[in-house]
């Protein structure tokens, strides 16, 4: 199964994500979830980004929070709404919202 998980909050979700198994896992950071893509704690990126997955962050939600795509971690791809639609229909078959 190809699963895309929308992460919409900035809090520890690693335990929840660990319970999700998929042949292909995509994590799309939206709303306050975009902080996972830019904030470091004690010099380390978010624990969430250590998971084996393809990471995406919504550019509009970055901009809304005054965050620049230049600060996004290198393993996270910046996408817009059109890209998210394509991810939904072309790359993943099941969707979840956290």
């Amino acid at each position: 199964m190809r699963l895309a998980v929308f992460v919409s909050d900035f809090k520890g979700m690693v335990d929840t994500l660990e319970r999700l198994t998929a042949e292909k896992l995509g994590i799309i950071l939206v709303e306050n979830g975009v902080y996972h893509a830019v904030i470091k704690e004690n010099g380390n990126p978010s624990q969430l980004l250590k998971k084996s997955a393809n990471f995406y962050v919504l550019s509009e939600d970055l901009a809304t929070r005054g965050l620049s795509s230049s600060n996004v971690m290198s393993n996270v791809k910046v996408v817009n709404y059109n890209d998210v639609v394509d991810l939904i229909f072309n790359d993943y078959e099941k969707l979840a919202w956290l």
Partner: protein
């Protein structure tokens, strides 16, 4: 082209999830996909007509009507809407009123489903 059904439980004010839903629906329908929206819980407040436009929010009655004109099917949970004191006579035209079975039927016939829970 595919069909995307989104169930949304959050309201416009106080949550960004409703805003996200509207923008995703618009992007999908503009790409030629069929989109269905199910409003439940506090999201049903969006069915009310004569909403004041707030400049800090990109969504509201006007964009909702634009989505309807583009063929997006929108249905509000009748029980949730009525419970909030909104009657059909106070609602945006073309928004359907129905029960959970509408949502389940749309899910059954959709290629993709995104269920966004409430606050």
């Amino acid at each position: 082209m595919g069909t995307l059904t989104i169930g949304i439980f959050s309201s416009l004010i106080g949550s960004m999830s409703f805003d996200f839903t509207m923008k995703l629906a618009e992007a999908a329908v503009n790409k030629g996909h069929k989109v269905n929206l199910w409003f439940s819980g506090n999201a049903t407040s969006a069915a009310k007509n004569n909403q004041k436009h707030l400049k800090d929010y990109s969504t509201g009655e006007k964009p909702l009507k634009a989505l309807l004109e583009k063929g997006v099917e929108i249905c509000t949970c009748e029980a949730c809407t009525s419970a909030r004191g909104i009657q059909k006579t106070d609602a945006i035209e073309k928004i359907q009123w129905n029960a959970m079975h509408w949502y389940l039927a749309k899910i059954h016939h959709s290629d993709r489903v995104l269920h966004i829970g409430g606050e």
